[in-house]
Amino acid sequence: MLELDNIHVSYGSISALNGVSFRVNEGELVALIGSNGAGKSTTLKTISGLLRPRQGRIIYQNRDISREPTDRIVGLGLSHCPEGRRIFGRLTVRENLLLGAARRKGMIPDDLDRIYTLFPRLKERLAQAGGTLSGGEQQMPAIGRALMSRPALLLLDEPSLGLAPLMVEHIFGVIRELKRTGTTMLLVEQNVHHALDVADRAYVMETGRITLDGPAGELKRNPQIEQSYLGR
């Protein structure tokens, strides 16, 4: 479904990705793990077109999207829930959700209902400005908003970062539910333990390169991973 082929990205003269290649198959949940500054978020931003690769191709559903503008990419069914949630603080929760469906018409009430089923607490906060929600609560409309475009592929960037343990469980519950209902996902996560629990496969990134990959269960038992990321 998604394939990155030798992607190079730089910020000015500093190179951030040096030849990243990986793939996500239909129906899969693939985790991208690695330490801070490894280039995980850069990878997601490049896929969704916020950054332009200097070199390489990004094939999504058999077409090269590496030169397409972000709005076109989102229109193709690829949705990116960015790091730090990026909720529109002065817009209401409901307006935030509606904007997720900005590119399409029809069936929006059904989609809203689906979001409320995943996040029942959102229903009480619809008229509230997004900025008045706590950091943890903001993750709910952030994911909900990304789902409003009915993505075929969902990119999730650090959905559990800075959340209370209970909220982390909730978010991963939602990720499991999305997986069960057939959403293909690419998950960037610092909580490697949780990430490898839900993922089918995972890639490990270090300084702008993929250094290791394999089925999630296998990686979990990899001594190198255990030592660097699972703290065992």
């Binding site: 916020l50 972000t70 990116h80 529109f88 603080g89 817009l91 590119r103």
Partner: protein, 325 residues
């Protein structure tokens, strides 16, 4: 009783001037909100609108067609401006956009001047005010210039429509979202170029209406009439909280009120009927609010701007907008 009428007239005055400022200020605020650009060429769109209206009226066209041509033409200028002068600079430092806006302003002014000379017109021409917009309207004992009533009604109607647009339509929501976080808006699938172009188009349309009203008020037009209104609109937007549409509206009316107050209050001691206030108060008013003070109106307006920037830099409604400048 005449004092009551005087106050009513002043309030109508304030609301009509406020409408003009608000119509101009929202355009500035919409563009600033998204691009962090203070578009000083905004006033020149207003000037272009006045010229288009003048020549359409010279041609003897009915007013509604004049208004359509004027708005259409000005919107085209606005869209062209965005496409030629600002879109290529996306991602450039804010100051590059600001300089570009000055350049566009000068080009529009000189372009108009050269065109006028080429067709053998003087630099300043009398504006052919349509009858609906001239004369006075008498409501009982109160007489108000028709223009003021039209300005007030046009301003309120257009601003209400704008508010509905930004809260009820997807494009309006997209505009507010883009003003808050451009990249997050892109991730919603919003075509940012379209949103920016819409902001310019709407701003140009509102500036066009303001231009017509302003030209009727002034009686004559020249290529430089946009300068003072864009400064006033800028002040109005700062007073309200820059970048916020609601703030720009509030700021526009606040500035209108302030100006009328600064014009009407000096000399108040001379027109108060005897017996309304104590002789001491009347003498005090005559001494400290002499009529010549109203000549310093603009100085006081700018003083208010400075005080606002010192003590409430985010405006009446704004939040942290200036941090990003």
């Amino acid at each position: 009783m005449s004092l009551v009428y005087y106050f009513i007239q002043q309030i109508v005055n304030a609301l009509s001037i406020g409408s003009l400022y608000a119509l101009m200020a929202v355009g500035l605020a919409m563009v600033f909100g998204i691009l962090r650009l203070i578009n000083f060429a905004h006033g020149d769109m207003m000037m272009i609108a006045a010229y288009i209206a003048a020549f359409a009226l010279f041609a003897g066209l009915p007013l509604w067609i004049v208004i359509l041509i004027m708005i259409g033409g000005t919107v085209l200028v606005g869209l062209l401006m965005e496409r030629v002068a600002y879109r290529p600079l996306r991602g450039a430092p804010d100051v590059a956009l600001l300089l570009s806006s000055f350049a566009i302003g000068v080009i529009l002014q000189n372009g108009t001047l050269l065109t006028m000379r080429r067709i053998g017109r003087p630099d300043q021409i009398a504006f052919p005010a349509p009858p609906v917009l001239s004369g006075v309207l008498a409501i009982g004992p109160i007489t108000v210039p028709r223009l003021n009533i039209v300005s007030l009604v046009a301003g309120i109607v257009l601003l209400v429509l704008l508010s509905l647009f930004v809260t009820r339509t997807t494009l309006g929501l997209s505009m507010r979202a883009a003003a808050e976080d451009l990249d997050a808006a892109r991730l919603m699938g919003i075509n940012v170029n379209r949103v920016v172009a819409s902001a310019f188009a709407i701003g140009a349309g509102l500036a066009a209406v303001a231009g017509l009203l302003f030209a009727v008020q002034a009686g004559q037009i020249n290529p430089y009439i946009g300068f003072s209104p864009v400064l006033k609109a800028f002040i109005a937007a700062v007073i309200g909280g820059f970048g916020s549409i609601a703030g720009a509206i509030i700021g526009g009316y606040a500035l209108g009120g302030l100006e009328v107050l600064l014009t009407a209050l000096p000399g108040i001691g001379d027109i108060l009927p005897p017996g309304l206030v104590s002789p001491g108060t009347q003498a005090f008013l005559k001494q400290w609010l002499p009529s010549w003070l109203s000549g310093y109106r603009d100085a006081f307006v700018f003083l208010a701007l400075i005080l606002m920037l010192l003590f409430r830099p985010n405006g009446i409604l704004g939040k942290r907008e200036w941090d990003e400048l």
